[in-house]
Structure formats: C-alpha cells, structure tokens
C-alpha cells in the first residue's frame, strides 16, 4: 500500500480571494509580516500496489480530476504505508 499526499493550490498568476481575506485577518491580528496567503487543498489517497505505474497514475488523477489545470497547480508525495 502507498499513501499519497496531494497538494492543490491556485496558480501564482491567479488571485486567491480567500487567501487575500485571510491575509487581511492575520494583519488585523498584528501579524503584519505576512506578505501572502494562498489557500489550497490537501488530499490523502491510499493506493494499493498494482502493475500500473504509480507516478503516472497519480499524475493522471491530478490532471483529470483532483486539480483544474486552468487555475491550479498540484504536487504530491508518495509514502510507502504498511497494510493493516
């Protein structure tokens, strides 16, 4: 089994209305050092070992469904998990 952690964020070029609001809130809490906030999504997939190439599979899943390439970027980490 593998545990795959997928991070999806809005592209740098795309304004993030939620991030902008949260930055304002942090500033009002006096954390004026905060220059930027980007809000994204974190997904954890548990994937069984199979004949298919894991990297290729995860990339496909990210591009087809988990992220929208028009406005979002993704990255992922793969961990080998011990089956219980």
């Amino acid at each position: 089994m593998y545990k795959v952690k997928v991070y999806v964020t809005l592209r740098e070029s795309v304004l993030d209305p939620q991030g902008t609001a949260v930055k304002g809130a942090l500033h009002s809490l006096s954390y004026t050092e905060v220059k930027d906030v980007r809000i994204g999504k974190f997904m954890e997939l548990v994937i069984e070992k199979s004949d298919r190439d894991l990297d290729e599979m995860v990339r496909d899943m990210c591009e087809k469904l988990l992220s929208n390439p028009v406005i979002e970027d993704y990255r992922y980490e793969i961990e080998e998990a011990v089956a219980r």
């Binding site: 795309v14 304004l15 993030d16 209305p17 939620q18 609001a21 469904l65 929208n68 028009v70 406005i71």
Partner: protein, 228 residues
C-alpha cells in the same frame, strides 16, 4: 422543438428551467437523469443550476464525468444548442466544452440578486431576439462565478466575439473582463452565470430571459422547418 433538462444529483434549478420551456415558451421538454447515454431525441440541451454532487472538490468537477456528459459532448459536436446556466456553466468549463475556470467570488459572498447585463453579441443562436447592446435584468445566485482565463484565451474570446453577456454598471463577482456568459468558437454552446430561466415573467421581476429561449426556438425553426 424538444428540449432536455439534464438533472444531476444536487441540481436545483431544473424545475425553473422546465417551467420556462414548457409554460412560458410552450415547447416540448423532458427531464433527463445524469446516467442517460443517449440524447439523440432532443434538439437542445439545458444544463441547469444547483450544486451537482454537492460541489465537492470543485463546482462541476464530478458532474463532468457522469454518463450523460458524453452525450452532451456529442450534441455539442453535432451543432445542437447547449445552454449551461450557473452550475451548468461550471460543468461546461470543467468538461472543456468552454474555456476558462471559475474562482470564488471576489468578495467571498454568495450573491443572490438581480443584476444588469449587456448583450455584447446578438448574432448568436441564443441572443438573436435581443438588440445589440441591450441592457437586460437577470438574477444571479452563486458563490463561484468569478470567471478566469489566461490572456491568450481572453484575446481569442474577444476576437471571435465569444463574450455574449457582460455585467453592466458593476462587476458583482470580480469576473475577468466583466464576463457573465461566453459561447464556444462554433457558437452553439453557451455558458452563463445569470439565470435566464428565473426571468421569464414580469410578475416575478423580469421577463428579459425569455428572449434567450425564444432565440433558440427561432434558430431551430429557421434551420429545421421548411417554409412553403
């Protein structure tokens, strides 16, 4: 002329859409569940608003993989009118039938109120009954209608006159170039955030949406009914 109203789990403007076509327009219309694979018997396809699949992951992201979407693509390729309103627009974007994507509204609020639109292009099968530059009142009801596309795409949209409706006076959600509705290059797929199906009776605030449905019928008659 026969319309299909596609119903996904979580659609909630399907009844309004049906009412607009059946009662106000007086044309044939049928609900079609999302697992249907054949839309050949229909002349036009309507994707209503709502929260298909709970808007999980992203609005429209899961609906685009439902069985009926392959048939919607076929209908679009065959040149039939395909109209997506609100969540229907979001589904068309996710499905790649229209370019771009939706972000959260700039003010982060869900906005539900009538807005003014300008008819930018009245030479489409959806807008021929409007005058060019006509200002109309149509309600919006969305939290993610902040349209985005890259510069190249925007340039193409402008050059091909694919921007059909723009917000007039104020931009409620932060949409790029005040975009409220766009068509594909061929001009037979329209996506728009405002709800024309909720503006078909003056008693209920506005009847400005009716011309959109009339335009579709006029187009269909011109291309399908042989006059003696």
């Amino acid at each position: 002329m026969k319309f299909a109203v596609i119903v996904f789990p979580g659609s909630n403007c399907d009844v309004d859409m049906y009412h607009a076509v059946a009662d106000e327009l007086g044309e044939e219309v049928e609900y079609v569940w999302h697992d249907e694979e054949n839309l050949d018997r229909f002349d036009a396809i309507l994707l209503p608003g709502g929260f298909s699949y709970g808007d999980y992951l992203r609005s429209g992201a899961i609906a685009r993989f439902s069985k009926v979407m392959a048939a919607v693509k076929q209908a679009a390729e065959a040149g039939k009118p395909v109209l997506g309103v609100c969540n229907g627009f979001q589904i068309l974007l996710e499905a790649g039938l229209l370019p771009g994507a939706m972000r959260r509204n700039q003010g982060l609020k869900f906005i539900c109120r009538p807005v003014q639109l300008v008819v930018e292009n009245n030479e489409t099968m959806f807008t021929s009954a409007y005058d060019k530059g006509e200002v109309i009142t149509i309600p919006i009801a969305h939290g993610e209608g902040n349209y985005y596309c890259d510069e190249q795409t925007l340039k193409r949209l402008v050059e091909n006159r694919q921007i059909v409706f723009r917000y007039h006076g104020e931009n409620p959600n932060g949409s790029l170039a005040e975009i409220a509705g766009i068509v594909n290059e061929r001009g037979n797929v329209l996506g728009m955030m405002p709800h024309p199906e909720r503006a078909v009776d003056a008693l209920l605030g506005s009847a400005d949406g009716l011309k959109l449905f009339r335009s579709i019928v006029n187009y269909w008659r011109e291309t399908h009914v042989v006059t003696a």
